[in-house]
Amino acid sequence: MGRGTFISAALHGAILLWVLVAFPSSNMDTAPLVAIPIDLATPGDVTKIKAGTKDGKDDAVLAGKPEEKKPEAAKEAKPREQTASLDDKSQAKPDDKKEPKDAAAAKPENQKPDLQKQDDKTAKPAKDAAADSPKKPKPQAKKRAFNPDKIAALLNKIPDAADDPKPVQPSDEPKKKVKGQSNGTEISMSVNEIDALRARIADCWTPPPGGLGADQIVVKLRLKLNEDGTLVGYPTVANSGSSPFFQAAADSAVRAVYQCQPYELPKAKYALWRDMILNFDPSDMYRSG
């Protein structure tokens, strides 16, 4: 037994010695530790939209340059002026005796003050916003008539995304000044922020109940916001429709965006959300309801 024990110990010792010589400790340590680079990407990084400028070339359609906007503005403005008057509509029903309708019921002398007061009303959010935000230039508050170009120009003086913590990223087209590219800075609204905004507007929106053909109607609403989240002036309906359902749907959309203000959106990304387009499309609701 003593001899066998000795041989066993000797052989084990020899193997151990060989292992220590053949596999030095440094090699054992380094082999499995290979660093795998992992980037954490937020949904916002994936769904970036760019900060805009008002003078970007292809901005004309959406920024409401006069030559682009005129037809739509004219279409929208006209019915509003008509409805503001106490007019005796052509479909106003007479009584059984068919007494003549009093077309003279429209009182021009009453309409004008009303319209003026309405202007005051719509201008109010702009005034409030101007008071709240020192950055806002005064002339805007004095304005009564809504002039999208003017306001856009004034808003543009606010530094875009000045305190954006994100590093400057190389632009796709660095040499060319395009919309979505402002001061070489790219900022984005995250999916969460956009969802929150959408949910808030959905909560304010009571679409009309619909009717035959109403499920085809989409109202495109253009709105501009102050930095405090209040509306600048009156939202513009950027499309049109001849159906009475369209008018009802457009009114419901305007009601929703008025009711929802002020919007709580990240101030750092004001350049992104100061100008918004909302497409109100109730077709899914009509189908399911």
Binding site: A84, L86, A92, K101, A105, P207, Q247, A248, R255, S283
Partner: protein, 431 residues
């Protein structure tokens, strides 16, 4: 209904756009909160009359299920100046989205009514009208204003300035007196048109709303009659040897389509009211009845038991291309084509119950709106959104009552009538 994620960041053009663009595909389905303060009088009229008219407006809008008139106790601003711009902040606080102000006066013994509909949040006037009416038509003024508001907010024609013709039933169940009656759609101004000596059934309005056609048992066999509701003048439609029943006007009011029974077999006939010529439309060995034109006058829906049980069929107005559209279990009867053409309402008998439902003209999309012991005889409001029908309650003291239900199936309301009421027929909008 949860909001669906439908992100629509601007991505259309090769160059990114300058604004956030979102698709809003979900909103809240709820009645629109509307403030209707008492209408003011202009001094020439009893303020109570003005208040009564605004109450009619509020009741009409509430009955539609699409508006929620706000309790007046919550109001902050007291509207005294009809021509002034309301203090919208005060109305926003009470959660009103729309505001109706009205002024009622008298002018040359006529009622002068004015109203304005304001959007509380945008401060925009959505509608404003002025009109005159006979003093006795004060309630009708309210209905007309309610129609104007309904149309402006929903984009769809209203249905409040309409009437209902129905069968007024009084007396014990085994010995009912049935008289033809007419009333406003809200159950007011009930007027009896027949004396009750003869049994009357299935009254129907002409498009002009001045004539009705109905079936009456005067003599040995029931006959279809035509009655002018203003003059009371009455005549038999067609001189047929057998019994005639289930009459209904064509959409242009020029024809009446009805059933004519001979030797236990009923077929459909149309009669031109001017020439009095008749045209046979069906010729089956079954009972074809309950015909109703489509709003364009090109098709007729009717019921027939030619396949064994009562089912719904559609054919061209000349009787060609007869085909069955009802496919579900149970039997179907009293089909009525919606005035907007997209649906057919019916009574369905299934498992001992009578249900009211709608289906598309091709038979698809069947939907039951209300069910119970015995519901029957649907009739459409002129805008095709609401149905009226009668519901029979069981028991010795039970009887039929009139109800309305909208297409969602949720807004069901009873229409108050002086006694029991059955077989309602909704008029078109009164001109």
């Amino acid at each position: 209904m949860l909001a669906l994620i439908a992100l629509a960041l601007v991505a259309g053009s090769p160059q990114a756009k300058a604004v956030v663009e979102l698709n809003i595909t979900q909103g809240k389905i709820q009645p629109l909160p509307i403030a209707i303060p008492d209408f003011t009088g202009d001094g020439s009229i009893d303020p109570q009359t003005a208040r009564a008219i605004s109450a009619v407006v509020a009741a009409d809008l509430a009955s539609s299920g699409l508006f929620n008139p706000i309790d007046q106790a919550a109001f902050i601003e007291k509207v005294t100046n009809f021509d002034g711009v309301p203090r919208f902040d005060d109305w926003q606080v009470v959660n009103a989205q729309a505001l109706v102000v009205g002024r009622i006066g008298a002018s040359d013994e006529k009622l002068k009514a004015e109203f304005r509909l304001w959007d509380v949040f945008s401060g925009k006037q959505l509608a404003g009208e002025q009109f005159f009416a006979r003093a006795k038509d004060a309630r009708r003024v309210g209905h007309i204003i309610a129609d104007a508001i309904y149309e402006r907010i929903t984009g769809e024609k209203g249905y409040f300035d309409t009437r209902i013709v129905f069968v007024d039933e009084s007396g014990p169940k085994d010995k009912r007196t049935k008289r033809l009656a007419i009333m406003d759609q809200d159950g007011f101004n009930v007027r009896l048109l027949t004396t009750g000596q003869n049994l009357v059934l299935t009254p129907r309005f002409s498009p002009s709303t001045q004539d009705i056609t109905y079936m009456s048992f005067e003599g040995e066999t029931p006959k279809v009659y035509l009655l002018n509701i203003e003059t009371g003048q009455k005549e038999i439609v067609g001189a047929f040897p057998g019994m005639t029943f289930a009459p209904r006007f064509s959409p242009d009011g020029q024809r009446i389509v009805m059933s004519l029974e001979r030797e236990g077999n009923a077929d459909l006939f149309a009669m031109d009211l001017r020439s009095r010529r008749t045209f046979q439309l069906t010729n089956s060995n079954a009972i074809d009845t309950g015909p109703c034109y489509s709003p364009d006058g090109r098709h007729i829906v009717f019921e027939s038991d030619r396949d064994g049980s009562q089912q719904i069929y559609v054919m061209n107005a000349d009787g060609s291309d007869q085909h069955r559209i009802s496919q579900g279990n149970g039997s179907y009867s009293t089909p009525v084509w919606s005035p907007r053409g997209d649906l057919i309402a019916f009574t369905k008998r299934l498992g001992g119950e009578f249900l009211i439902g709608v289906m598309k003209p091709d038979g698809s999309g069947e939907r039951i709106l209300t069910e119970g012991f015995h519901n029957e005889g649907p009739t459409w409001a002129p805008n095709g959104r609401v149905l009226m029908f009668f519901r029979e309650s069981p028991g010795a003291a039970g009887g039929p009552k009139l109800y309305t239900i909208d297409l969602t199936g949720y807004n069901e309301r009873q229409v108050a009538t002086p006694a029991f009421g059955s077989d309602p027929a909704w008029s078109p909008l009164i001109n």
